[in-house]
Symmetry: C2
Subunit: 200 residues, 2 copies
């Protein structure tokens, strides 16, 4: 069985977005400042260009992803990535209500309306031996609080935002202790750190 992982690009002072959804240009510099092109399977998302060190790491990680899980907010915000996720994997969307223009699930998008545990179970079934990956934010926090998360990946940007959206805002007390980092890779304007969640 694969692992359940979340990842986020975070500022050095702990924010995944600045005030009023600002700061993305600073946070995501590393997606555009390198010489290695990472292709996009989405018709509306351009390829990224990362450093060789970042490319070596994330290419390996992307290849291990069997299913993504996102919240409805991101699905709507990206306009469903033009119909196909950049990473070319099935995306489970956790939502209160299925979109009217998507009466059926398909290889691109699967909708789950009965909570985080059901979303993880569905994603695990789709991923098989591969990993399930959550975007950072509120549903990653719920996943962590439900003890469903195995790893946390932080792409730490050398940027101070001062305020904004914290990594796991309002996290309950457990689990507070991670183990690692078991991977430290220095890219250009980013430090990739990977941690295990301690479940003992």
């Amino acid at each position: 069985m694969g692992k359940v992982i979340t990842g986020a690009t975070m500022s050095l002072d702990g924010y995944i977005a600045g005030p009023n959804e600002s700061g993305f240009d600073l946070l995501f510099q590393w997606y555009g400042n390198g010489g290695v092109e990472l292709p996009s399977a989405s018709p509306t998302v351009p390829p990224s260009h990362v450093s060789a060190a970042s490319a070596e790491l994330v290419t390996r990680e992307y290849a291990s992803i069997g299913c993504l899980v996102v919240g409805r907010h991101l699905y709507d915000l990206t306009n469903a990535w033009g119909g196909h996720h950049p990473l070319d994997v099935t995306t489970v969307v956790l939502t209160h209500q299925r979109p009217v223009d998507r009466p059926d699930d398909d290889d691109d998008f699967v909708f789950v309306t009965d909570g985080i545990e059901a979303a993880v179970a569905k994603a695990r079934q789709i991923a098989g031996e591969k990993n399930v990956v959550f975007n950072g934010g509120q549903i990653a926090r719920q996943c962590l609080e439900a003890w469903l998360l195995d790893e946390v990946g932080i792409d730490l940007a050398p940027v101070l935002l001062g305020s904004g959206t914290p990594l796991f805002a309002g996290l309950g007390a457990v689990p507070a202790q991670l183990a690692g980092p078991f991977t430290v890779v220095q890219g250009t304007e980013v430090t990739h750190l990977r941690y295990h969640v301690r479940k003992e």
Copy 2:
């Protein structure tokens, strides 16, 4: 002339203290989980015991410190470290009013009542060719906002606190972009990261 540096132990989600001044046991595990003793010059602060990797780095950094700058809150909270700072260097205390039991400055404590720039100037004078080091928190933020800071050191603990005191809470817009890390050292339950402040 030496550099002006701030450093803090920070949780993976960006807090230097948990809610209601909690979480220090988790944050500061790295000060007690290793085999190398770092002596304390304070009569009330015990020596710490850090990993060999942490010891190699911080011993070198401690030796380069010519003067510390702290806020009055920390001075009071520690009861003036029993009269002598653990690192055996002169400590400039930024305060609104000199403590009544300290009518004169001495080699242990120097009091500055006329603001952050005066505190840095005084500390630079004391430090000479060595570095001036600020504890993280509000006065480090003021120092950063006044463009007086040259380096930021983060000791990143693999801990999630969920809420608490952010690294540079309420930081103004500049400087938002750092450079680095120029140093990455993995200790036990800590990743030491050192950044330059970009002043261009």
